[in-house]
């Protein structure tokens, strides 16, 4: 993984000093809360309902064991013993004190971490496929490119005050596990005539006006990565709307100009800068790529057959876990383990300090000391020798991180909702907890198959409800919590936005409504091979409406 050199370290150290000074000035009354707000936000420090919230950047989700231990230490020392993995591969702490935040940032800087640009109207953490480097369908590891983007975007002097926040995601695989089509810029690594480059997608996003990206470039040679992004940002910075924060994302500008109109502007700007110093050098690619060299794998026989055989063994708990939470690795003899942060009845994405420490140790002994956070609020041990899977399973079981539910409906995404979030209309976590408890039956879950459920506590859609096969959106009806059900969304390469099925359900009916939706699917699908989303696309909304609302 990327290792800071003296310059990287100096930049984060100076950031800590800067924020310490800013906090001091705020506490001395030299700057008002209004002036302080954008400064703290650019360090990921929000004000939530019960406390400040600090969002720490995890570039493209990748962490070393040492960093994970530091996150555990921070949770214990400055917070209430836990953290929360977010849908952008970051971690949030819910209870830091303002006066402690400079110290927390200093602790982070000591392990090459920071909270830079995790909020505010700037370029946010660049996310990537969580199976980067190990997926079988990968063309190239996207993380070196993410790191190049991270460096370019860090304190970019021209783009620190954009019309709105800006999110970039990169995938190097054919299947899209990074949800690139719902980002402001989505980049797909592609190959053309033996040359590496990117397909450039822009203007995706959720929130009030959900949009799937539009393609503005079929092939961008990789040396132009930064000049092209800079051109996109420059057009957006000048022409994005600033009069209405709900119309300020780049997707609205792309809507207004049309994909072609937007492309024309970007290409005109790009033509003026593509051969400037922004053009990346081979030397730089090599330097950064060197940091992501594969770990020293052992030469082992292929283990696909062995894993399949183990999963049919008599130990059902282990077998289920192998089937659901273990994925094939590109290197023979190794497996990818997805660590479920979705225990039955738990808050999706919450991890305790002890769990973090346990994960750090496990990564060290069994996965070359690395952990990746996924945008689905889980974690990945990417390089586990297949022959040691049982040990890993036992250890994860002890830690409460082995729920065999990856990809199933209880592997749901949920935002913090009204329990924490100032903007929320309704709670998300208690709904998630009730669903996970109600549906806690392995046979039933596996029969339902791959099915994504995503819950947001308001229209801002941090829980990505539009792109859940099933989405739940909390709304406020004269002071009471109601939930809308959306069906048919997808975040992958077949990205689509779900549609509201009908009137919202009160809190005590939403779980049953979900059960009805699932029951209908099971009764009427052509075979277990027909996925929920395929079924929905075939039959449409009508049968669901009938089932849910007929008696009313």
């Amino acid at each position: 993984m990327y290792q800071y050199d003296a310059i990287d370290q100096q930049i984060v150290d100076e950031r800590v000093a800067q924020f310490r000074d800013q906090v001091g000035r705020r506490l001395r009354g030299e700057i008002t809360e209004n002036e302080f707000k954008p400064l703290r936000l650019q360090n990921g420090l929000y004000m939530q309902m019960h406390a400040y919230m600090l969002r720490v950047a995890i570039p493209y989700g990748l962490l070393s064991s040492e960093q994970v231990r530091k996150l555990a230490h921070i949770a214990r020392t400055y917070d209430r013993g836990y953290g929360h993995f977010t849908t952008r591969q970051n971690i949030q702490y819910n209870w830091p004190r303002l006066v402690d935040v400079p110290d927390i940032l200093a602790e982070l800087a000591s392990v090459q971490m920071h909270a830079i640009q995790t909020s505010g109207n700037c370029v946010r953490n660049t996310t990537a496929d969580h199976l980067a480097g190990v997926a079988r369908d990968e063309i190239e590891d996207p993380r070196p490119y993410c790191e190049i983007i991270r460096q370019w975007s860090t304190f970019h002097p021209e783009f620190a005050f954009l019309p709105r926040k800006f999110k970039i995601a990169v995938t190097g695989s054919r299947s899209d596990r990074a949800a690139v089509r719902v980002h402001d810029i989505g980049l797909r690594i592609v190959e053309q005539n033996g040359e590496r480059g990117f397909e450039v997608l822009v203007g995706g996003g959720l929130g009030r006006t959900p949009r799937v990206t539009r393609k503005i470039r079929e092939f961008l040679p990789r040396e132009h990565l930064l000049s092209y992004i800079e051109a996109v940002l420059r057009v957006y910075n000048q022409h994005g709307r600033r009069d209405n924060k709900y119309k300020a994302r780049i997707k609205i500008l792309v809507d207004a100009l049309g994909a072609d109109g937007f492309r024309e502007q970007v290409e005109a700007e790009w033509a003026l800068i593509k051969d400037s110093a922004l053009r990346l050098t081979d030397e730089e690619f090599e330097r950064v790529r060197g940091h992501f060299a594969p770990p020293p794998y052992r030469t082992l026989p292929d283990s696909d057959g062995a894993v399949a055989a183990m999963s049919l063994g008599t130990d059902r708990g282990f077998g289920n876990w192998l089937k659901q939470n273990v994925k094939p690795h590109k290197v023979p003899g190794y497996s990818i383990v997805i660590v479920s942060c979705k225990p039955t009845g738990g808050a999706p994405g919450d991890v305790t300090a002890d769990q973090l420490d346990g994960l750090a140790n496990l990564a060290e002994t069994h996965s070359f000391g690395k952990i990746t956070v996924t945008h689905t609020q889980n974690a990945v041990l990417a390089d586990v020798e297949s022959s040691r899977l049982r040990e890993v399973w036992q250890r994860l079981t002890e830690l409460g991180l082995a729920n065999p539910n990856i990809g199933t409906v209880t592997d749901m995404i949920a935002c913090p909702g009204l329990d924490y979030c100032n903007l929320a209309n309704a709670r998300s976590i208690p709904v998630a907890q009730r669903i996970s408890t109600t549906l806690d039956n392995a046979d039933y879950l596996y029969d339902l198959g791959d099915l994504s459920l995503k819950i947001s506590g308001c229209i801002n859609a941090c829980g990505h409800h539009h792109v859940g096969n099933i989405g739940i959106l909390g709304i406020d009806k004269s002071g009471e919590e109601f939930y809308q059900l959306m069906l048919g969304g997808s975040a992958g390469e077949d990205a689509s936005l779900g549609k509201i099925i009908g009137r919202a359900f009160p809190s005590d009916e939403i779980v049953e409504a979900l059960e009805q939706v699932l029951a209908l699917y099971i009764e009427r699908r052509t075979s277990p091979e027909e996925s929920f989303v395929a079924f929905y696309r075939r039959v449409g909304a009508a049968p669901f409406k009938e089932r849910l609302y007929a008696s009313a």
Binding site: Q3, A6, I11, N121, F155, F159, L226, A277, L280, R287
Partner: protein
């Protein structure tokens, strides 16, 4: 309409890395033109009063234009031979268009004169502004804000991306790595 947070002369500004006395007068569109001194006017006034202002320059007084965040670098570039100074007026600090305008004026249109920012200037933005080519800063409010702005110029001693002060890091000579790993 009065422009919020515009400071009045004489004032102290941050210029070329120092706090200095400054006497440029911001004129509103209806304010009478004083007999002498350096004046800053809006783009509209610069164009409608073109002859008078040109004559004033001929007589040894300086004239500057005060652009808004609505004005693009292209618009500004067309005015450069009429002025001695370009000021970018920022109505709200979050309106970040002026960063692009400043940078393009320098990099694309070759403007070499004083590039000043005024209005809702927050000290903590000064580092970014400076990298975009702004070299003079009117900071409204108490003196400690001006001092904070001066300090903010030196917040970071390194940067990743290219701007007015340096090229991108990957094109600079690599500094030796201080920390042993």
């Amino acid at each position: 309409m009065p422009l919020p947070k515009l400071t009045s002369a004489p004032r102290t500004i941050l210029k070329s890395g120092k706090l200095v006395a400054d006497a440029w007068v911001h004129l509103g569109d209806d304010d009478a033109l004083p007999a002498t001194g350096d004046v800053l006017v809006s783009r509209e006034r610069l164009l409608t009063q073109a002859e008078e202002l040109a004559a004033r320059r001929g007589a040894g007084h300086r004239v500057g234009v005060r652009l808004t965040t609505e004005d693009s670098a292209q618009t500004a570039a067309e005015l450069l031979d009429r002025v001695d100074l370009v000021a970018l007026y920022v109505p709200k600090f979050a309106d970040g268009r002026f960063f692009t305008t400043a940078r393009l004026l320098r990099e694309r249109h070759g403007y070499q004169g004083e590039l000043r920012v005024c209005g809702d200037v927050v000290p903590d933005q000064v580092f970014y502004m400076h990298r975009c080519g702004i070299d003079a800063f009117e900071v409204p409010g108490p003196r400690y804000r001006l001092e904070a702005a001066l300090k903010a110029l030196g917040t970071f001693s390194e940067s990743y991306q290219g701007a007015l002060d340096s090229g991108p890091r990957y094109r600079r000579a690599r500094r030796s790595i201080a920390r042993a790993s």
